[in-house]
Symmetry: C2
Subunit: 574 residues, 2 copies
Amino acid sequence: MTQYIPALTWLKSYDSTQFRDDLIAAVIVTILLIPQSLAYAMLAGVPPEVGLYASILPLIGYAIFGTSRTLSVGPVAVISLMTATSLGSVAQQLNVSYVEAATTLALLSGAMLTIMGVLRLGFITHFLSHAVISGFISASGIIIAIGQLKHIVGIEASGGDLTRLVPSYFNHIDQFHPATFLLGAAVIILLYIAKSFAARGLIALGLKPSIAAPLARTTPIIAVALSIIAVVSMGLEQQGVAITGNIPSGLPSFHLAIPSLELIELLWLPALLISIIGYVESVSVGRTLAAKRQQKVDPNQELLGLGAANLASGFSGAFPVTGGFARSVVNFDAGAVTQASSIMAAVGIGLAALFLTPALYFLPKATLAATIIVAVISLVDWHIFECTWRYSRPDFWAVFTTVAITLSAGVEVGVASGVIVSIALHLYRTSKPHIAEIGRVAGTEHFRNVRRYRVETCRHLYCVRIDESLFFANASYLEDHVLDVVYQRGDVSDIVLNCAAVNEIDFSALEMLEALNKRLSDQGITLHLAEVKGPVLDRLSRGHFLLELSGRVFLTQHDAFKTLSQRQLGGGHE
Amino acid sequence: MTQYIPALTWLKSYDSTQFRDDLIAAVIVTILLIPQSLAYAMLAGVPPEVGLYASILPLIGYAIFGTSRTLSVGPVAVISLMTATSLGSVAQQLNVSYVEAATTLALLSGAMLTIMGVLRLGFITHFLSHAVISGFISASGIIIAIGQLKHIVGIEASGGDLTRLVPSYFNHIDQFHPATFLLGAAVIILLYIAKSFAARGLIALGLKPSIAAPLARTTPIIAVALSIIAVVSMGLEQQGVAITGNIPSGLPSFHLAIPSLELIELLWLPALLISIIGYVESVSVGRTLAAKRQQKVDPNQELLGLGAANLASGFSGAFPVTGGFARSVVNFDAGAVTQASSIMAAVGIGLAALFLTPALYFLPKATLAATIIVAVISLVDWHIFECTWRYSRPDFWAVFTTVAITLSAGVEVGVASGVIVSIALHLYRTSKPHIAEIGRVAGTEHFRNVRRYRVETCRHLYCVRIDESLFFANASYLEDHVLDVVYQRGDVSDIVLNCAAVNEIDFSALEMLEALNKRLSDQGITLHLAEVKGPVLDRLSRGHFLLELSGRVFLTQHDAFKTLSQRQLGGGHE
């Protein structure tokens, strides 16, 4: 039972000390979540109250089914951008409302994550190169920052990638609005100063570092308060500064609309990409935090936790969510010990949705945009280019391709090409396993690569070691290699295939071995095996390969070498 | 020069003995090729003369650029079926003639193969599991045989898969034509008898086995002759037996029509699938024959050879071709020693196209269908199900899926799903490398898997060996595994990661190692490496991982074990 509902493990021994710790963390997280929810709703293109809804039930869904004790789930920047991008094109094609489409996206994403969790398909996400994801996140950060700039300068720019976004600023440059710009710039500066000095200031004021650090991250709420005061006191609304306006008070109502097949057909691919990116990022945050307290996240159960969060989001009329880095760190640093903290934060946001919304009427959009920009700038990591360039060129080109495509064609095409580039890299690498000719280290029973060590070899004997399991993707490569060597040397009479590193031989590789054995026999060359592992040998004896094998199966390489080098009359050691 | 034009190697020393051998083989191959070319043209849905054109210039193209000495290129069954299937849907969408579309398919396929050859992308085809291809070929054979049955029973059936093909027979069952059926059945029986007894009969008549065997394979020409005689003498045409009719005499004219972008967009994917399947099959035939004479085929140069053949086919107004198994074996067995044999066969077919076509007017379609059916039945290999079931379940399910989808949805969807299933299998397997805890074999410096050997271990020391290079697809798997073990054991203080089998660490894996090191440090656990290979260590020192590593890099596992087990005060050997 606790396997499927991890919340039961901490619920059993929950006490008042834990409650106090969780409550403090929940208060701080709630303060952080209010402006974040409104801001990411704006980024995703949905009304502000939908942002609040996305921070209520989803938190409870994850709290019940997720395995991280401190992960904080809700709307995050990259997923919100992906939502906006995928809905931008769809909303025109169908006559459903934008919010309805966003809700469908959350439902589909929740359903996919849940199915993947039930089928234990967490491993699928392993095929996204982490370097490629870093590149994708950085590029998304740039697109988000430049996209949100429109709220700071008051220009109606649009576009999901730089090739459309940048020109649209220049086309509407006459809309530049000085008052909005002053306000937005002031908030950005305030947030940056707070980021650098707030924690130290709070400690100087006598707060404990363990509270000061997370509290310092909640400065966006101060920016929100100050800018509302500025708008009201200076009458900025009359000067044309865009404000949030009326936000309906109340809790989310329960939606159970089964999406139409037409809508599913349009949204399944975006939903899949959102699910994968959201999952990979969330698990990475969860793992980091869990390790700090010697806890553990279960990758397959995390699929169920995030699935539940997104289903809850969809049923409460909100949009896709995932575990966020910044807010989880705040939750963790503020001393949260269980997911009860998230449940209390959900209650906090619920109260805000009920009572706080009238106070947010005059909240300028520039302030929200400023909090987004400051948050996403920290996602941008140019370092990855330098590191990969120095460390490995193929990785560099994979990252470069992903970043270039994301910036020039948007997040959807960007992440899709990231996946394709990752898989192509993987296929290329695994199809060319390391193959070495080996010889005997004089006076020992050890065999080593002839290119790296001074070893004894024997003229008519070719001893070859493959450093990987044999399966269809590398079978021909080995075959080509062996036939090539045989053709070039011309005088090989015996080949020993050292299988010490072969953990598996699949059916296609078995067929290759049968064909190779036959082809070598036709040329009068005997094929032997050596150091075949027990399970591999068991499996081989199910087919007829071992009966047809022209040579023998030796227990050790030394055995093979001794037997075969003595048998050859003319050929001495070289 | 000889690298790019392999024909130069044998041309340099070509003599009259070789010429005589090649000529005999060429005559036999020509006799075989005439009915085959007509039959596969019928299968592909193009006029009969186009089949002859596909057996003239393409043979010369391959003879110049291909590396196999005895491979015989031309129209083959599976590729002809794939051509018919892909053109079936396109011909309705565009107002180009069917033959023009077939020619475009050959051109595109030739261009793709050539580009892949120049870029040396032969390795791409390694990702098609051979077992999956066997399944696909078997399923195609069944579709072809059942599809051609319509010519034997005189029913107008149609459809590219069994779900459409089988019902269409029942819907038109009233068209059943007894005379056609008798003729077709007679030819099938004749061909089967010939297949079983002709070679022995010819040897009994005094022919050398080396000539009797290939000559026995040319019985289709006798079937052609006999059935023409039957049609003429019995006036079967008036009774409604379908005949080939007028075949324009003459050689192919040179076409240089650059296909429209619209046509390319529709045909690129079918062309790619045709190229890949054709290439894989052809290389497999070429390799088998080359090995018998200690020769060699170069997989990348083969791309150029087949590319030239298909470009030649496209420019002479014909359809996609590749190396065929049956005819190559005939060529080989009949004693061909160089590709001059193919060039002479091309001349033979050219003469047939010029002078023989009037004689083929009364050739019944049932006879051609019978030769196809007898040829493809031998492609069907049910054995693969039994073998894979016995040997490896994942392979079985991959083959089963491919066969089921091909039969029920046709060759295009079938081969595409075969590719996807192959890649999915590959990804799944390589993402879960073998990871073993190792311990010391008492009294030695050898370390072995604790599950397979009696070894010494040390309570607080966890020695783990991964049997694969580390890269993004398996990095998280290793990380999860290590964190899992640490979490379960609870008292690990040192971890030694044995890298003896690690030939590469990619950037994502490096990031994983950095994170793992950090996460373990947070829990007070030290991470060490052992037996890191030289090139891997060189690369690691380019980043900052080695500086941050909490533990040491040991030269040998023994070193690590000795140092770390002594250091631990409380923990003795177990």
